[in-house]
Point group: C3
Amino acid sequence: MTQIIANIGILTCSDRASAGVYEDISGKAIIDTLGEYLYSSWKPHYHVVSDDQASIEEMLKYLADDVGCSLIVTTGGTGPALRDVTPEATEAVCEKMLPGFGEQMRAVSLKYVPTAILSRQTAGVRGKCLIVNLPGKPKSIRECLDAVFPAVPYCIDLIGGAYLTANEDVIKVFRPK
Amino acid sequence: MTQIIANIGILTCSDRASAGVYEDISGKAIIDTLGEYLYSSWKPHYHVVSDDQASIEEMLKYLADDVGCSLIVTTGGTGPALRDVTPEATEAVCEKMLPGFGEQMRAVSLKYVPTAILSRQTAGVRGKCLIVNLPGKPKSIRECLDAVFPAVPYCIDLIGGAYLTANEDVIKVFRPK
Amino acid sequence: MTQIIANIGILTCSDRASAGVYEDISGKAIIDTLGEYLYSSWKPHYHVVSDDQASIEEMLKYLADDVGCSLIVTTGGTGPALRDVTPEATEAVCEKMLPGFGEQMRAVSLKYVPTAILSRQTAGVRGKCLIVNLPGKPKSIRECLDAVFPAVPYCIDLIGGAYLTANEDVIKVFRPK
């Protein structure tokens, strides 16, 4: 099999991080976690945008269509506040929504905090790219990724993206026969 | 901190209750339960409407925009029958939906009855007001409110509504630091 | 009570099965399972269509409106791939969606495979007909039907369809008093 390098987008949606008010820890936590998970070659494409729906949509389209990402993981903007619009931006650019991702991440987060029900995170497919929203809090990143990543490589297979393999001692991914 | 009185809407959606065919027990059960939960001052705004989508939407808008409610709790109209339109009315007046509320209430109700999957209840945000649908059956009111209320005060903080505090010996609300 | 024969549609959505590339096992598994479940008289209306949204919508409308089905169970086309459009077709022909069905089926399937979150299956109501999506894999058919069927007869009661009774030694259906 010819090994190709998978392009993966990491998109932090945060007014404060994009304005330089504070350092983006969550986006870097996603890159670190994916680095631990993935055995196959990949290249991160990391961006920070403000909580502006049009800007988020534009960046998601750029990463999916122009960069050719097979996966985009967002962080931030999933709460109920006025400026939280990442799920809306995601839905606007996706042809298909995958409600099971949000359900499963909320179910897992509920084991830690009852406010997990406030997270509106979702996932969807744009062309050959899977887009997954994670919450903004750094400590939720790993628990949410651990909960859904086992299904991510097979999902990307189904939509025609790059073939991802994982470090089996870190996370077990699943491909039905 | 200046204590302000929180306005809370209680809206019973029922053809029969609005026509006086039977007494509305569920709406009163919500008022009683909130009375037990809340330590901070609040004022109930209680209304009964028929299962008519336009009437429900109008009342939700009145309670959120004119009365200035930080929270509206509905009961009834969440099933699959033709006249059950409360979730549709809620979605029509909200800028943001919070699917985690419905997921969690159905998950809890499923421990009691397999028909919990028929309930289409949801929650959403209109301006500075959180709207939560509860099912119509009186005995489901408490189990559903117990399941989601711990996240309600923090949600209302995030959307700029009144600051609610609870009687900690009745229910533990959660605000992340 | 006058016993009437319930019409039940079974719709396999599959490019390959409709082209005769392989035999449809899942549709037949649904018929067999319903045959074990149901005590009251029923008549299956079994069809196979390609993964084409317009064709699926047309067949769902035919089964609901012309045949007078009280229940339609689909199989296939619920994944994230380009040609998977059964949930979209279902949503397009239904007046009301019942998200609890998809949530519960995914929660049950997650006990077996982490890729259950990729299934986008849902359920909804068109007139007096309940439409339920099942995944395409034969071995998931029974676990998903077992998970939601206890609520199906009562749902059909609420929308004015046929009165279904079940073999209580096979599956326990629930009707609240």
